[in-house]
């Protein structure tokens, strides 16, 4: 099937493109990219005034299946993803059972094969059961085709073990994604330690609990000569460490989630549990620093850390509510509203953070509109304003911190493998 998308502003930093171009899709691939294409097809989409860009590659998503299908399933999450312009996701392994062995990977693959609507890449756990005690068999996992490893949700506390994991990962050419948190410092905290925690009378999570672990993991990665990717960076101090590591030529990449560069701890005043995330929303200064870090390149990736939780787990006392926010459907719009509109990123920059860089870091052939590549792309109305409504969210769980917020940027079409899988 041929589809011709005309007159859109094509943004494809991989191929140095940011211009009004036509793009032809055929047989699931990008067939042609040119100023003016004539093609023998009735499937023509007029993308005048629209942005045409690669589909988002979200490298931090919790699909919850297997085990917590009440929160989300592979089917519901990928459906929500397509609506948000996300065509590829990296599934985090903190499911039940955890993805910590070849058998579990195959189990998840089967679920994906049967029910997924988008591309799902799999991250496996660093330690068995994510318990931080025994390393998983990376050779076996690599054979199953996993894309990265992470114990996300926790950090591996034992230094020796983490060093061992990094060395193994280096040997197997696998990326280690680090959830940096020292639980002995964050113990039982529920919001950022600071004026807000004092005002609300809630236990605070210090920034130390994050950046001391960032420092440790960078050091261990240096010892092991292994590349690492720091997940969900939330504060200035972590940024400084990452910037320093990059200056030293270490292979350290980093991501942040949309809520960290668009919301600060004040959002928690009023005890809205949709604002309860780990790491917590930090100060306004940290929020600004993250925006700046995206501009400067210290942060390479924007990933949602999509973390669905049921109503029962969120509509309770703040200190007892689960940590996490959904983000697949809002991440692009938040990035447009908070970064492009506010001058921190231009369109090629945004495409780098949300499509190209994550693909490169994971070593997958996505995130670009190269001729011959899979036709995973989206058409976006960049200026259209919309308000996030709880009842309009497609994700099974509705714990979004952006409910009621006005955002700019709407996905009109999502193409996956050359097929229009989402139309607004």
């Amino acid at each position: 099937m041929k589809i011709l998308i005309k007159n859109g502003r094509l943004v494809d930093p991989q191929n140095n493109l940011d211009a009004i171009m036509d793009i032809l899709i055929a047989e699931g691939k990008i067939a042609q990219v040119a100023r003016s294409i004539q093609a023998d097809t009735q499937n023509i989409i007029d993308a005048t005034d629209k942005i045409v860009m690669p589909g988002l590659v979200d490298m931090h998503v919790h699909l919850r299946e297997p085990g917590r299908e009440d929160k989300e399933t592979v089917a519901s999450a990928t459906q929500a993803a397509l609506k948000g312009g996300v065509t590829s996701v990296l599934a985090m392994p903190n499911t039940n059972p955890a993805i910590d062995g070849a058998g579990q990977v195959r189990l998840l693959r089967e679920i994906i094969r049967k029910s997924s609507l988008a591309n799902v890449f799999i991250a496996a756990a660093i330690t068995k059961g994510r318990l931080g005690q025994e390393l998983t068999d990376l050779a076996a996992l690599k054979k199953e085709g996993i894309a990265a490893i992470s114990d996300d949700g926790t950090s591996v506390d034992n230094q020796d073990l983490m060093l061992g994991a990094l060395k193994n990962a280096k040997q197997q050419n696998l990326l280690v994604i680090c959830h940096c948190e020292d639980k002995s410092l964050s113990a039982n905290g529920v919001v950022n330690l600071g004026f807000t925690s004092t005002r609300l009378g809630l236990r605070g999570i210090s920034k130390e609990s994050e950046y001391t672990r960032v420092a440790r993991d960078i050091q261990l990665a240096k010892n092991a000569q292994a590349p690492i990717h720091i997940a969900h960076v939330s504060c200035q101090e972590s940024l400084d460490l990452i910037a320093q590591a990059k200056k030293q030529g270490l292979k350290v990449t980093a991501e942040t989630a949309p809520h960290y560069f668009s919301l600060s701890e004040e959002a928690v005043l009023g005890y809205d549990t949709n604002m309860k995330v780990n790491p917590p929303l930090r100060s306004r200064q940290d929020m600004l620093s993250l925006k700046q870090a995206l501009k400067d390149g210290v942060i390479d990736v924007i990933a949602s850390d999509h973390a669905p939780h049921t109503e029962n787990e969120k509509a309770i006392e703040f200190e007892r509510a689960e940590f996490g926010a959904v983000g697949l459907e809002t991440e692009l719009a938040v990035a447009i509203t908070e970064l492009i509109d506010k001058g921190f990123l231009d369109w090629p920059g945004l495409v780098r953070k949300m499509c190209l860089n994550p693909a490169r870091i994971l070593g997958i052939n996505k995130g670009a509109l190269t001729v011959g590549a899979d036709a995973d792309l989206i058409v976006v109305s960049p200026d259209e304003e919309w308000t996030v409504k709880k009842e309009e969210l497609w994700s099974k769980s509705k714990n979004s911190p952006f409910i009621g917020k006005k955002l700019r940027g709407v996905v009109e079409y999502t193409f996956l493998g050359g097929e229009a899988v989402y139309k607004r």
Binding site: L193, G194, F195, S197, T198, R199, L200, G201, L202, G204, G270, Y271, A315, I316, E317, F318, E319, R320
Partner: protein, 316 residues
């Protein structure tokens, strides 16, 4: 000015005028407790439910007495013997109480923000009787009422608050109330019990008890809360008494007429000596008496907003 809030959740959200209104209303109710028949029909036919998730003598009984003096019907739910034990959520409990057509829920809970959460979900009035470490508005109001009665004003007063500030809802509510009314507040505690960035609430901070008491017109002595969730770092009882305890010796270095307050219950010999607690500077029992008037005022004011809601002429 007119009171228009269905709930009383804390002093942080109140204006100076709203606090003034509660105090003035309390003033007019104080006299009722001195009559032979301690009753007015202001809340006759109304139902007040005390929903207490934490143990309490003073606050719960005080609210009950206050409600009854206004002729309201009072129901006490001690969660130990309720369906909360079966896992019923706070919101469900609140909705059920509302379904029983109660008018006001007075709630005490161990989770900060619980009162606000409940107030968002129910249409009836919610009065916060203490939520976690967050606020205990009626306690601060009665503390301020007592100070005003004794010293004639709040503006310009030097008030010291001593004790476990970090975990104290009494401290937070007092800080909001006192600073809004123009008092100068100093908090004094070992470093581990001072919460982060508390200066941003407009208070001075010191670890030196003598410095805190030196120019103080009043000192509010908080209970050392050994039963509330112990964090790893917590001072030893005897150390605390030695360095921060309010004793007659300590008071010698303060103003002679310094007012000594305590929200109760007092731990004799830990944060305050018996001599001081029972001595002439202490207004601890007067605070309790004033608590009745203040709580009558609060119940009366929030009940009024319900009335306005029910008035069919209002929506015409």
């Amino acid at each position: 000015m007119v009171w228009n809030k269905k709930d009383l959740l804390g002093l942080e959200d109140l204006t100076k005028e709203e606090i003034g209104l509660i105090l003035a209303t309390a003033e007019s109710f104080k006299e009722i407790s001195t009559r032979e028949i301690k009753k007015v029909p202001a809340l006759r036919g109304k139902t007040v439910v005390n929903l207490f998730y934490e143990p309490s003598t003073r606050t719960r009984v005080s609210f009950e007495v206050a409600a009854k003096r206004l002729s309201a019907d009072v129901i006490n739910i001690a969660t130990e013997t309720s369906s909360v034990k079966k896992g019923e959520t706070l919101i469900d409990t609140g909705m059920n109480i509302q379904a029983l057509k109660a008018d006001i829920i007075v709630v005490r809970h161990n989770a900060s923000g619980a009162a606000a959460m409940l107030a968002r979900q129910v249409d009836i009035s919610v009065v916060n009787a203490g939520d976690g470490w967050h606020e205990h508005p009626t306690q601060a109001l009665l503390d301020i009422f007592t100070l005003k009665e004794k010293l004639g004003k709040i503006e310009g007063l030097n008030v010291a608050i001593v004790g476990d500030i970090a975990h104290s809802r009494v401290a937070r509510s007092n800080i909001w109330g006192l600073t809004k009314l123009g008092a100068k507040v100093t908090v004094c505690a070992p470093k581990m019990l001072i919460p982060t960035a508390i200066e941003e609430m407009g208070v001075s901070v010191t670890q030196d008890i003598d410095e805190a008491l030196k120019n103080a017109d009043a000192v509010n002595v908080l209970r050392m809360q050994f039963e509330r969730d112990a964090d790893a770092a917590f001072p030893e009882q005897l150390d605390y008494f030695k360095n921060f305890g309010i004793t007659e010796e300590r008071l010698k270095k303060a103003k002679k007429e310094i007012i000594v307050m305590h929200p109760g219950p007092i731990n004799r010999g830990i944060e305050i000596s018996s001599e001081v607690a029972d001595g002439t500077n202490s207004v601890i029992l007067e605070q309790v008496t004033n608590g009745i008037a203040v709580r009558m005022a609060v119940l009366f004011l929030v009940a009024q907003t319900q009335e306005k809601k029910d008035d069919p002429l209002d929506s015409a």
